[in-house]
């Protein structure tokens, strides 16, 4: 990697914009580049009657593509922060139970026949509550290593909530309730509406702000607690800030898209192989990679076959070979 990190990030940004443009042309009704340009230009000519291409681009594809970009970038950012903070490259944003909590919230809301917005809110609150509980339990366990205690209590609470989800699935009406529950648990961007985006975007942005402001100091969390403290870092306060930020971002995403695994675990690796572990260089590249990856995955999901594929399946099918290529070609080692 002889290119400067800034140049790499810039190139990744250009590539992402190109991917998004291509994705806008793909679908049940393929669009030519000319039709796409016309549709994009129509944004600046209000009052004109929208033709079919314009409607497809702005009403159907753009919201979904925006959702893929937002969710992919947010999950990658949260995963990058957690992998640094927990000093463990096998950690994903779900480690403290946010997805399990969101799933429990959503599934309970479906069980009690609530509307779509209530389901999303229940998922969001469930995710936040699960992590808050894990954090409170870990803080009470003072005699243990704080990072380890946090991961342990997150995993335990996650599996408890997994049991809640399983229980609700058992009790749910197999005709009316089980299909939406299964659909939600598999994750999908198919039904993301502009309003969902408008709700999730500010929450993700609020979560991203502390990570970006602390971007250099995040590196110090990768040290032992004692070491970081002796360098003047308020470790406990910073860890709380990072957990809050990452949880907010992840919960907001899971609430609109369901649980989409893999992105938060492996995208930070891929970005680290290219940019190295320094957080202020790593974070932008990881977000671009995450956005591009979920965009490709979701485009495959909606165009590859006549039925919608679950993104969780495609993330593994598309992501594993891509990741292996990076792993074999990158100069730096695994860590």
């Amino acid at each position: 990697m002889t290119r400067s990190p800034r140049a790499t990030t810039f190139l990744a940004g250009i590539a992402l914009a190109a991917l998004a443009a291509i994705a806008l042309t793909l679908g049940e009704v393929p669009l030519s580049p000319r039709e796409l340009l016309g549709a994009l230009a129509s944004l600046f000519e209000p009052g004109e009657t929208a033709d079919q291409a314009t409607q497809i681009v702005w009403q159907i594809r753009a919201p979904r593509i925006a959702a893929a970009l937002l969710v992919g970038a947010a999950l990658a950012a949260a995963g990058t922060a957690y992998q640094g903070m927990f000093r463990n490259a096998l950690v994903s944003p779900d480690i403290l139970g946010v997805s399990a909590g969101a799933a429990a919230g959503a599934v309970l809301a479906i069980f009690f026949s609530q509307d779509a917005l209530t389901i999303q809110i229940a998922a969001f609150i469930g995710g936040l509550a699960a992590v808050a509980l894990a954090y409170a339990v870990a803080s009470a366990a003072r005699r243990h290593d704080p990072g380890l205690a946090l991961v342990l209590s997150g995993v335990v609470i996650g599996s408890l909530l997994g049991a809640v989800v399983a229980l609700v699935k058992t009790l749910a009406d197999p005709l009316n309730q089980l299909p939406p529950i299964t659909f939600w648990l598999l994750g999908s961007l198919a039904s993301v509406a502009p309003l969902d985006l408008a709700l999730a975007l500010p929450l993700v942005a609020v979560g991203l702000i502390p990570l970006w402001l602390l971007r250099w100091r995040m590196n110090l969390l990768a040290l032992d607690d004692d070491e970081a403290r002796s360098l003047g870092v308020p470790v406990t306060a910073m860890r709380l800030a990072v957990v809050s930020a990452a949880t907010l971002m992840t919960a907001a995403c899971v609430a609109i898209s369901g649980v989409i695994g893999w992105v938060g675990l492996l995208i930070p690796h891929a970005a680290r192989l290219v940019a190295g572990p320094e957080f202020s260089r790593l974070l932008p590249l990881a977000m671009l990679f995450g956005a591009a990856f979920l965009l490709v995955v979701d485009t495959v999901c909606r165009t590859a076959t006549s039925i919608e594929l679950p993104p969780g399946v495609v993330t593994a099918l598309v992501g594993t070979p891509a990741f292996l290529v990076l792993l074999l070609r990158a100069r730096r080692g695994w860590t």
Partner: protein, 267 residues
């Protein structure tokens, strides 16, 4: 006076390890801390670094009581060099040294040109400037120890605390690290380091502290503290202290007359 302990007691609530420690280190002075495994060296260091509260007594750093200093202010005065460790991520040697600037960079800031210059100067002072761009995970153990020392120097502290800086190093690097410690003291730092080799107390240290497992403290000039009698009492093995080429060395007794059956005290 840079680092002072007055009637210091350290340990954990309910388990006092030692009490009545009186230390006084000036600029240019080096304290060598010795003691068996489980004898309290780590606890003493964590107490000196403000990572755990003293059970009694007072610590004074650069004329100010520890209790009155924020974590950031402590980091301006006192730098910690942990034992060589293998980190999870491949930061470059320069990035590691730059971390020493954390207490001088704003909360939301990043290191500026002055911080980079300080880190590079620290790397140069330790002769590892050519390694600046190398991943910290890929350099040798001795070079990693020097990188951690460079991080501590980039902190621009008044005093250094080094946890077994020569552990895990080959013989040549042990000597080099001890020389650097002496040089840094000569440039005006106060240094505290721990070791398992009593000889090292005679290599440039001005004071020695011997911690026994029963909490007995022996503190003073190295020639007075590191004696055959004291080492026998603390470590439970026979030792002779001899003079070779003007330097004192500790020679363990393996021959008859030494304890017939070696005993391994429980740690």
């Amino acid at each position: 006076m840079i680092l002072e302990a007055r009637a210091l007691a350290f340990g954990y609530p309910g388990r006092r390890i030692a009490q009545g420690l009186e230390l006084a280190l000036r600029a240019g002075e080096v304290l060598c801390v010795l003691g068996p495994n489980g004898g309290g060296k780590t606890t003493l260091f964590r107490t000196l670094l403000g990572l755990q509260p003293a059970l009694a007594g007072e610590l004074v750093l650069g004329g100010k009581p520890f209790a009155a200093l924020s974590r950031r202010e402590v980091a301006h005065r006192l730098a910690y060099v942990p034992q060589d460790h293998a980190p999870e991520y491949a930061f470059t040697v320069r990035e590691v040294a730059l971390m020493g600037r954390a207490a001088r960079v704003g909360l939301f800031g990043a290191p500026d040109a002055r911080d980079v210059a300080a880190a590079d100067a620290a790397l140069a002072a330790l002769g590892i400037a050519p390694l600046a761009e190398r991943p910290y995970t890929e350099v040798s153990g001795g070079e990693r120890q020097l990188a951690l020392l460079a991080r501590a120097l980039a902190q621009e502290p008044l005093a250094l605390v080094l946890d077994e800086p020569t552990a895990n190093l080959d013989f040549g690097n042990q000597v080099r690290v001890l020389r650097y410690i002496r040089q840094l003291a000569d440039r005006g730092l106060a240094v505290v380091f721990s070791t398992h080799h009593p000889d090292e107390a005679f290599h440039g240290a001005s004071h020695a502290l011997l911690l026994a497992r029963d909490g007995t403290l022996r503190y003073g000039a190295p020639e007075i503290v590191i004696t055959a009698e004291n080492l026998q009492a603390v470590y439970g093995v026979g030792v002779k202290v001899a003079r070779v080429n003007g330097t004192l060395v500790c020679v363990p007794e393996f021959q008859e007359g030494a304890a017939a059956e070696p005993r391994f005290p429980r740690s």
